[in-house]
């Protein structure tokens, strides 16, 4: 026996009561995990327009699913606790408990996987943001193209809210035409020069949209002619730090989401702990109560344990059981081949309004 503990009747009662409370605590933590998943999902969906793919959504999806299953599982545990000290009602839970343990272990593994994934997917998130932001900046001017008309507003709000500018930094704006042709005066010499100065005929300028402006700057915002020191009084392009936001939006968004997922780390780990303790306590309760019912005096002492045999022997037993079930499943198809054939025969037979009395293998129509 692995890790056995002796239980008197008094101790069994205490264990059942304590486990009942802990199971309700586990139900609450399941609800907490679900709400966490919902919160993460809504935050990711809010910025879905600047993300290229939805791979990162696997983290909140798993959290939501685990939360829901955990609520149900731990509620079942409370019912088991209530019935555990009643010798007539406890045996009906016997079969279910095996499945319950498997589900509980699976939930803990999934939660661990979530913690690992939230670190591992950081690279994918950055890639997705890079592509999404690049498209957003490229289509900034297309406020008259259906499907892209909200890009300007999205990018402006994003830059103001996260205090960032461009993809990597503000110079990304120098490489795209972000002023639409509709608002350019083509008779002006300056405009014509700029358009002729590059191969694609785009109106590129060394300026940024107003949403890049930093309100903390002591100077009113300089948006245009940023690389030209003589265009503004007492201005040095290399030394100017506060005029615009210096952070890139990709970095800002990645930091934001990573911080959110990291801060949920301790919460998830403590929920794993709670679930494991409920699992262990329920195992002890099950074995102790079963031991007590087998005694002549049900109120006497019984032994509770984690595993009946050692770890290796239990593993061999489980393997043998699983192989048996598989073999049973393999044996069945050959015997069952007759009955599916009979069903196939009945279908065309029904069409001709004749019921086949005996199973005769006939080619399917």
């Amino acid at each position: 026996m692995l890790l056995k503990i002796t239980f008197t009747q008094q101790r069994r009662v205490r264990l059942a009561q304590g486990l009942w409370l802990m199971s309700w605590l586990a139900v609450m933590s399941g609800a907490f995990i679900f709400c966490l998943g919902v919160y993460l999902k809504t935050e990711l969906l809010r910025r879905a327009e600047v993300m290229d793919n939805t791979e990162i959504h696997v983290v909140p999806n798993i959290l939501m699913m685990v939360g829901l299953v955990s609520i149900g599982t731990n509620w079942v545990a409370t019912r088991v606790c209530q019935d555990s000290l009643d010798a007539s009602r406890f045996p009906r839970w016997k079969l279910l408990l095996m499945a319950w343990f498997a589900v509980a272990v699976l939930l803990c593994c999934l939660l661990l996987a979530v913690v690992v994934l939230s670190y591992a997917l950081q690279g994918r998130l950055e890639e997705s943001l890079k592509v999404g932001l690049r498209n957003g900046i490229r289509f900034y001017k297309d406020t008259d193209v259906p499907g892209r008309c909200f890009q300007k507003e999205t990018i402006d709000r994003l830059q103001m809210e996260f205090r960032c500018c461009g993809n990597n930094n503000f110079k990304d704006w120098f490489e795209v035409q972000w002023v639409s042709n509709r608002y350019l005066d083509f008779t002006s010499k300056d405009v014509k020069d700029r358009i002729r100065s590059n191969v694609d005929g785009r109106y590129l300028l060394d300026g940024v949209p107003f949403s890049c402006c930093n309100p903390a700057s002591p100077r009113p915002c300089l948006q245009y002619h940023l690389t030209d020191n003589s265009a503004h009084y007492s201005y040095d392009y290399q030394a100017e730090e506060l005029n615009l936001y210096s952070r890139g939006c990709r970095q800002a968004l990645t930091d934001y989401y990573m911080e959110m997922m990291n801060s949920t780390g301790p919460g998830v780990l403590s929920v794993i702990l709670i679930q494991m303790s409920v699992l262990v306590s329920l195992r002890y309760l099950q074995t102790a109560v079963e031991g007590a019912t087998a005694l002549e005096d049900p109120e006497g002492e019984s032994v509770g344990y984690l595993l009946e045999k050692g770890v290796k022997e239990t593993f061999e037993d489980v393997k043998a059981n699983v192989l048996n079930i598989l073999k049973f499943a393999q044996v069945d198809p050959s015997a069952a081949e007759g009955s599916p054939g009979a069903e196939d025969a009945e279908k065309p037979a029904d069409n001709t309004t004749e019921k086949a009395a005996s199973p005769t293998p006939s080619p399917a129509s």
């Binding site: 103001m160 002023v179 639409s180 608002y183 005066d185 949403s211 309100p215 903390a216 100077r219 007492s234």
Partner: protein
């Protein structure tokens, strides 16, 4: 004739006590909500947060006490402990609920006071927008910019307010340029006024890049389309609407809490009168009447008035047949002697 008389059986009395206990606990929760609201608003919209905090705390204490009383009231023996306390408690709670009502009405009346203070505050902030090197005012630029971005507004009443003040500091103006010097000489106070606005006035809903400068002379767009480029609302209006909305929702919440407290108070009153009548009848298992007022409203008012009138004249009780009413003030000692005689005999 009793006002609002209802007959209670023993079971009904116990049920009423249980329900009142639960409602009192719910009131404790609503009291904490009020307290939390007061803390949340501590950024100081005049004196409203303090009122909310005190009301919330008082609600918690009173209803906690009431919950304890109601829990004991189901049983006639335990009720005897609280018998003398209940009437003062009910009166206290009644005054408290009227204060809650007054507070709720105050929330609605706050608008006019806010408007004036907002106007002055915004005008000063805009005037000192450029003074980012003056200690004490260096954060005003940031504050005004963030305010205009967050509340989607520009200027005090509109974007033209910015045309009348110098919002670019002289540190960033090239005094050797003739254009700059001309502008500064063109007005009496020597300010560099321009027909431009800060970047925070730019609207994110506009489909084209923001035009901040040369707003009066812009020839590429007409007046109406220019309006779309900047936020159209003035910040005073935006802030007023925002805070009035907050105040109205707080007022509504407090009104609802007041109604709830009134309901609980009525229940406690009925429970008190029902229990007292049970004690008077002597049989704890019997039915008893509960009422709002023992006599009609007029009679109760008259008797209370008499009590208050006679508070200072304890030796001149008119309707006590055992005491002779003295005819002159000098003979006041007689009634007290007579009372003493009665006691010793």
């Amino acid at each position: 004739m009793a006002v609002g008389k209802v007959t209670f059986t023993k079971v009904e009395r116990e049920k009423l006590a249980e329900v009142l206990c639960l409602l009192n606990w719910i009131s404790v929760v609503t009291g904490t909500i009020l307290f939390g609201l007061g803390l949340f608003l501590r950024q100081g919209i005049l004196y409203v947060p303090h009122m909310l905090i005190t009301t919330g705390l008082a609600a918690c204490c009173i209803n906690f006490f009431g919950g304890k009383i109601c829990l004991d009231c189901a049983d006639t023996n335990k009720f005897l402990r609280w018998k003398l306390v209940m009437m003062p408690y009910i009166i206290c709670t009644f005054f408290f609920t009227s204060c809650v009502l007054a507070g709720a009405l105050m929330c609605y009346g706050i608008r006019s006071q806010m408007e004036e203070s907002l106007f002055m505050g915004l005008r000063n902030a805009m005037r000192y927008y450029k003074d980012t090197d003056t200690p004490g005012r260096c954060n005003l630029k940031r504050t005004v910019d963030l305010l205009q971005i967050q509340f989607q507004c520009c200027g005090n009443t509109g974007y033209r307010d910015w045309f009348q003040i110098q919002w670019i500091s002289s540190r960033y103006l090239d005094m050797s340029s003739s254009a700059v010097v001309d502008r500064m000489r063109s007005n009496v106070e020597g300010k560099y006024l321009m027909d431009g606005v800060p970047f925070s006035c730019c609207s994110t809903f506009s489909p084209w890049p923001c035009i901040q400068h040369h707003l009066s002379t812009s020839s590429t767009q007409d007046e109406q389309s220019r309006q779309l480029n900047l936020w159209r609302r003035g910040c005073r209006q935006a802030l007023l609407d925002h805070y009035t909305g907050i105040m109205q929702s707080i007022g509504l919440t407090v009104l609802l809490i007041w109604l709830f407290e009134l309901l609980v108070l009525t229940g406690v009153r009925y429970l008190q009168t029902a229990m007292e009548n049970v004690l008077r009848l002597g049989d704890p298992e019997s039915e008893s009447d509960g009422w709002f007022l023992e006599n009609s409203l007029a009679e109760t008012a008259w008797s209370n008035f008499n009590i208050i009138k006679n508070l200072g004249k304890c030796y001149q009780v008119d309707d006590d047949p055992n005491i002779n009413v003295p005819t002159a003030a000098a003979e006041e000692e007689l009634p007290s002697q007579q009372v003493q005689v009665l006691v010793t005999s």
